[in-house]
Symmetry: C2
Amino acid sequence: MRDVSLLITGADQLVTVPPPTGGGGKRGADLAELGIIENGALAADGERIVAVGTTGEIEATCGLRPRGERIDARGCVVLPGFVDPHTHVLFAGTREWEFEERLRGRSYMEIAAAGGGIRSSVRMFRKADDATLLSESLQRLDRMAAYGTTTVEIKTGYALDPEQELRALRLIGALGQQHALSIVPTYLGAHEVPDDYRDRVDDYVELLTERMIPEAAELGIARFCDVFCEKGVFDVPQSRRILQAGLGAGLRPKLHADEIEPFGGAELAAELGAVSADHLGRVSPAGIAALAEAGVVAVLLPGTLFSLAAKQYAPARAMIDAGVSVALATDCNPGSSMTDAMPWVIALACLQMQMTPAEAISAATYNAAAALGLEGEVGSLTPGYRADLQLLAAPSYARLPYHVGSSDLRDLVVGGRIRLRNAAPPALRG
Amino acid sequence: MRDVSLLITGADQLVTVPPPTGGGGKRGADLAELGIIENGALAADGERIVAVGTTGEIEATCGLRPRGERIDARGCVVLPGFVDPHTHVLFAGTREWEFEERLRGRSYMEIAAAGGGIRSSVRMFRKADDATLLSESLQRLDRMAAYGTTTVEIKTGYALDPEQELRALRLIGALGQQHALSIVPTYLGAHEVPDDYRDRVDDYVELLTERMIPEAAELGIARFCDVFCEKGVFDVPQSRRILQAGLGAGLRPKLHADEIEPFGGAELAAELGAVSADHLGRVSPAGIAALAEAGVVAVLLPGTLFSLAAKQYAPARAMIDAGVSVALATDCNPGSSMTDAMPWVIALACLQMQMTPAEAISAATYNAAAALGLEGEVGSLTPGYRADLQLLAAPSYARLPYHVGSSDLRDLVVGGRIRLRNAAPPALRG
């Protein structure tokens, strides 16, 4: 009998989200394969999962060490913690007033002219001190955890200045040190064109490729280099130069691609072997075919389109049918998607993009991990993976999109440690 | 100086939601009037609000009794607790599997034939013991409170049987006794036609009017009598008979009206002077005019249409422009709207029904109270009203629809008592 440090038993459903037989993300029919074990159990030792099976099997083979922790999961669904592979969590100050103006019908350009838009977040970021940025961001991570997320990608990109973008990277590194969740840093110096480069975008691209990206890579914090490849921001040749500079410095490419119109972003992602292409609200059929062929993960962000009152979402079904690995993320940011809850994104995936609950859960766990190059590490309840998992007080995984706008999270385990226990709202009696 | 039992000071915004000059709900431009006081303060004595003003004004006129409670609301928005005027909270068991089948494209009729639909909740209700029904429902109310709700209407209607419907009413009464939130019971024996009356609906209408409704009224628990007035359930003449029986027994009418097609429900509500007409996804122009003329509150339930993946929502703007008092509710129920969070409903109102955040907040507080005949009692931070209020950790009331799928609730006060304090998610450090 093996002695372990954490034993979870009796789960109504243990949703393992098994890895696909090939590499990369889950595709096609495999996306709906959740590997459910009824009356399921899981054993972890230290940070890692060591055994998964029925409660009978695990109790027969694993014993709990004297100081180990045990979780009775009866009445619960156990599933991998969510991986949120596209966020801008590091920002200072929120932008409620713009949201209100947008609802009143003012255009993005009018709002930008009145001091709003991404540039207002850049101004707030540059003015905010480190303590403010850290404190606000840590609280956002707490909220993500309360909705079941255990790994969060965070991008720079509200600084748009060589020194300040390095500050952003260091702060994202500090969030990873200070918070219990796993943080994956991405360098996004190419989030927008700074005001003083408006009429000479190529000069900013040169600054990025010659100085900013090499300096950022030098810090050893970022894993990826990202670019906003869209009309009016960085075009395809500029995006290619930026991402190639990242590759040269050891940073794998990611792209904000085809959000507003088909622009060749997906094709560029495929050409460069990007780890993911994100947004894709208007990806072309050729772009979809290219993503499938190259095995680039498509990270869909339906919360953004909801908050922008869009009438049309990314063509998730066409992508799944074409063999693309589809993932989901919050896009948490103060402008277009002030959202931290992955269950809400899963609900949108089901109700607005015709994904099934099972597909959406794979997209928010295994494939979201693949969008960060973390296959084999997180996003599945399989021996050898990190013990990052959540317990929902619910009879079935379908509770996630069904119970919309709310949360059934009971317990959260990160790296084998119980970080939230009985997180249900307090009982208000009498 | 007046001695008080609760003093709240320093709110960035105190959102009073002032009552309209005439009676009934807020209408037209008045719906957007939130009566915001910056650096606002509020004093309550016992259950009631006694003073509202700037922090300077209130501190100059009110002192806290030695054992009184004080809340520092700096960095917060204070607004009335939400009133949720249309729910079916009293049920046993959830229906995730149906939700999943619906997403797979199975029709409601196919699901009903496979044992699903409202009749499956009827079977579960009849089988469940009182303790199960109470325990599940109390937990749902805890969740509603965690999202800022302080008053909840709850309907019977999963029993459809004379004795069991009385049991449902008694259980709703017990929820009101056992839970800190204010509960408003509604009798909905006419929620659906029971299986054994399928071919003789008029016999069930007679059972309702001759026996069930008088017996229900006799209990002294219900305030309202409701009916599902829709094609295939109860037609307009049947609904009229049912609601007149309620009126005769002292129960004010409410209607499930025009949800699926224009059916004359809104017109019937106006004819009978109903306190509210609810759903209205397909209300006709004549129905809108009738509601405006008669001063019937229109309770809109966008969460239901979202969960049914509807392409079209109730015509909120046309109703507001026509002078209808519009309110919002969750419709919390296990079939079509497994939702307990009013902020989520507010987000839908803004993003799918083109209401402004200010209008949506009036609709979820003052007008929702009017939909329960509770004008003057709850839904406004005005002296004389019950001290039912919430604090959001946010700079502006627009945070509610902006921060979608999540919650910023910090404190909740019900009847002058602090029931939730620092309800933010736990900090996960290190």
